[in-house]
Every structure is written in structure tokens, then in C-alpha cells.
Amino acid sequence: MTAIDAVSVFLPRRRVPIESLAGALRLSEMQVRLFRRFHGLTEVRRDPELSLTDLLRHAATGLTALRGREHRVRFVLYARAFPVVAPYPVNPLHDVCRALGLGHALAFTVTQQSCASALTAIDVAGRLLAAEPHRPGHEPLALILTGEKAFTRDAQFIPETSVFSEGASACLVSAHGPRDRLLSYACAQRGEFDVAGGESPARFQREYRPALAAVIDRALAEAGTTLADLRLVLPHNVNLMTWKRLCKLIGLPLDRVLLENITETGHVFCADAFANYRTARDRDLLAPGDRYLVAAVGAGDGATFAAMVFEH
């Protein structure tokens, strides 16, 4: 059963108040107020001195569990919200792999599910690992990287909805590890909300929370568990209001959702799940046997709703 072995997160130290982004993003005072007061987004992390490669490398070098086990890493999956982040053939993923001594691993990017790509990467990594032959004591590992720069307007904010933070994460996955075992994965895609799909943004707004509620239901059912059994929900950090309304819709107490990073860091692309996991571990919010749910929504052009249930 796919399991998370270790997670590290890197966020640039430089904090940027939402207000200071208004000029560059052409936001009105009212729009800034909406982000801060209604959505609970107060600041993000941005550092123009750090390249994408820097972000990924910092996250991976912070993963102490990787040290000495590099030779067991067979796959490196880079889960990314934005499909293209460097001009061809520049390849930050392979640059980082070489720098980390992971040139022997098969490295590729999983994308086009927007910010839900991270959950697909965990699922794919688990399947690849399960099929990988190995000697006893040399169980193969996969490294899942996330990390993005807010390099263009589309990667800086989602109008009326969220603001992106720069940051990165590194996650070590095994096929049969004892900790944080993956019990279920549910994913639903709504390509009709793509630019060529023909559906209106208004309909997307109406269907957003019910669609997320539906994949959460599916993930819970596949895991043989219920909302009431969950110790914690690790959300995507889109904004506070979405989660307040979703909790009301599905009958989940708001204090069961780890929301503090929304205010502190905003939406860190695909890294939200890992940043929130790290916070949960650092604050001792998960005890052995606790079940928790990770949710993600990729809402670029087209939409992907995803949820996973884990047992700690």
C-alpha cells in the first residue's frame, strides 16, 4: 500500500502583504479587501532572487530522510500546476536530480490537473513502485517534488479567488511503508470548464463545492471510513471562505480543517497538501492510527477535483 515516508517543505522567507501586489496585478482596493477580509488571504511568499531550481533544491535538501537512501530512489515525479515553466529545452527537474545525486532515477513531470497534480503524482508513484522488482531490504522509493514560481500573471493569482505563494516540497513515497498509508484516491475532472469546453465561469462557481464534496465522499467510501472518523482534513489553500462553505455543505466541523496556512502563505500551487501535512506533524495533530483526508482542486482552464484518505 502506497505510503508517505517523509515530507519537507521550503517557503521563501520573504513575506509579501497582499496590498503590495495590487499594482502589479492591477487589483482595485475593493479586490484587495476581498482577498484579505473575505478570503482570509493576508500575505504570500515571493523571492525574485530564488530560481525555480533553487526552490526545488531547497525542498529536496531539507528532506533528511533522503540522505543515504538516494540509491533507492527509482522515480522522481515533479507534480506541477502550470504545465510549462521554462523555455524548451531547459529542464529544472533534471538539473535538480543531477544535483541531488538522483541521475539514476527516472524523472518526469505530471501536470495538467492544475493544483491537483500532486495527488495524481502520489497515485502514479505508488503504482510504479508496486510494479518495480527489488531485492529484500532494497525497497524502491519515489521522490515527489512540487514547486513553482509566480512567474506570470496566471501564476500570481486567481481572480476573486486566491493568490499564489512561491514554494516547494519534497516527499518520499514507498510502496509498502508503515507510516501515512494511502487508503483511497478519488478524482473527478471537469474539462467542460476549459477554454474550449464552452461552460461558463458562473456555472463553475456554482458547481465547485458540490463537485469537491462528491470526490470527498468517494474517497471516504473507498477508504471505508466517514467524515466523523477523520481526525483532520488537509485542504488546498485556496481561501478560507471556500472551506467555510464546504464544511457547512458536508457537515464537517471547521476546526477539523487545518486552515492556518491559508492566512500565512496563501496557495502554494501543488505544495499545499505537503505544507499542511508538515504543519500537522510539527504541531503533533496526528496520532498513530488517525485517518485524515487531503483535498485538492485544480482550477485553471478545466477543473480537477481530488481527495485522498490516509492513515497515519
Partner: protein
Amino acid sequence: MATGLHLIRAARREFDGPAALLDDPVLRDRAGEYLTDLTRPYGLRFDPSAAARGQSYGEMAAELIRELVGADEPVDLLVLAFAVHDMLPGRATAAYLSHVCPGTPMSFALCDQGSAAPFTALRIARDHAASAGCRRALLLTVEQSVLPYAAGVAAPERHRAVAMLYGDAPPDGGARVTAVRQHADVDPADVAALAATELRELGAGQPDVAVVLGAGLAPARPTPAGAPLTVVPPGQPTTGLWWTLLDQLGDGPDRPRAVVAADYEPDLRYLCLVRAVRRPRLGAGSADLRPLLRH
């Protein structure tokens, strides 16, 4: 797909002209802003006149899906593999393709791996096939010929796409994928020897096993003497191998029993191989008889 990965049917297409979506000034400007911001940190300048000739993988792949997948053939997994990006680089194209594909499959794109990406997609499809409930997987390999900046490398020569539908073994015909192998970090000095060993292990050298060598591997000349050999012409680094492989797997009296196809990605140092065994057709009376390749 409990009995392994079978290629049921395939389609391939060369596309003329630019993406229709680029006719929309809003989308064109948005893509232009994205590509301008993408290239600036690398000291490159976005060329909008070049971009106007570029293609959309969404449009290319959607056409092949319409051609290849019947409404009564729901797909469970769709993987879009590419090396060179298209002209709508911020778009979640795979999510859109899920919408236009029967079955609304789970879909994602796989990239940043050069010509190794379709092989990885095939491995992932094989691993999905082993799990319960996966009936069909659709692999789409796409490349378009425009890089709208001075990339310093050659772009593909043409806009091309190859779609391969995998699933349970059809009543007859098709091909069974019996091996997918990938080696990472293969030094150019070692690739000939390693490829020769792998090709022999996969049956190359036997008279009824054809070999298809990608343009990245052909210069290494790793093929055993006497093996029926087809070398993929240069110019289509990502789709070329699969395009040619389908010629070998298609119908015809002189076709081999099995095909081993291999390629080397010189920039990223991957050596990849696939072996497919053709399944004989039962005859013209079969109601399910359909050509493997739809042009």
C-alpha cells in the same frame, strides 16, 4: 485489463496550419503574455509571429480521440505525453481531453522527459491495467513544430500526433505489449552496448522479430546482424518512433510476429525499449475485424 496490455487500435495524424484557438484574440494575448514571461528570465525574446504558426495539443489530440475511440468504449486512463510545449502553454489540456473522451477518464500530462515520456506513459498504463476496474487506457503522444523563441535546438519538423488505445485483448488482431524497459543516465559511450544487449534479450536477431530504431539511437548501430530493421527518419523526436512502430504492427502479409522498438534520448540520457507481439487475425468473417491503424 487483467490479462496485460493490448494495443487495440491506433490513429496518427499530421496537422497543417496553426491552432484554431489562436484566432481568439483574448486567448492569443493571454498565451503571448505567458510565453513572454516564461522566456524573459532566460534572456530569450518571445516571437509572436512564430507563435501564430504553432499548434494546440488539445485540438490535435481531440481530433484523434474522435477518430479512434468509440462511444461504446469508455476509457479509464488518458495520458498526454509531449516534449515540446504547445502554443497554449498554461492550459490544463489533459483535463479538457478527459471531457471529450468517452468514459471521462482520469487524465494528466507527462512531460520534461524528452522522447522517454511516451515509454513512461506506457509503463503507467501497464501498471493501471494491472489494477481492478481499468478497462482501457489511451496514450496520446504529440509534438508541434514551433518554438516561439530562439531555443538553440531544432523544433520538430511537423505537427504530428499518435494515439494508441490499449485494453483487453480484442477478439483478434491488435498487439500485446510484452515488455517496456527504461534505463536512466546512460552515457552516450555506453548506449550501443546496452541497447544491443537489451535488443537481443527482447528477441532482436530472430527472423520474425522486426526492430525499429529511433533517430536518437540509430547512430549507435546496436542492432544484431540480420535483424529486420527500420530506422525512424529524424525530425520527429517524440512521435517518430511510435509512428513507425504502427507501420510494423499494422496489417499486411509481410509483417513480423513481433516488433522491438527502441530509442535513446541523448540530452536526458534515457534508453527506452518496448516489445509488442502482433496477434493474428481470425479472418475476414470476423465481425470485430477492424484495422489496427486508422489514418
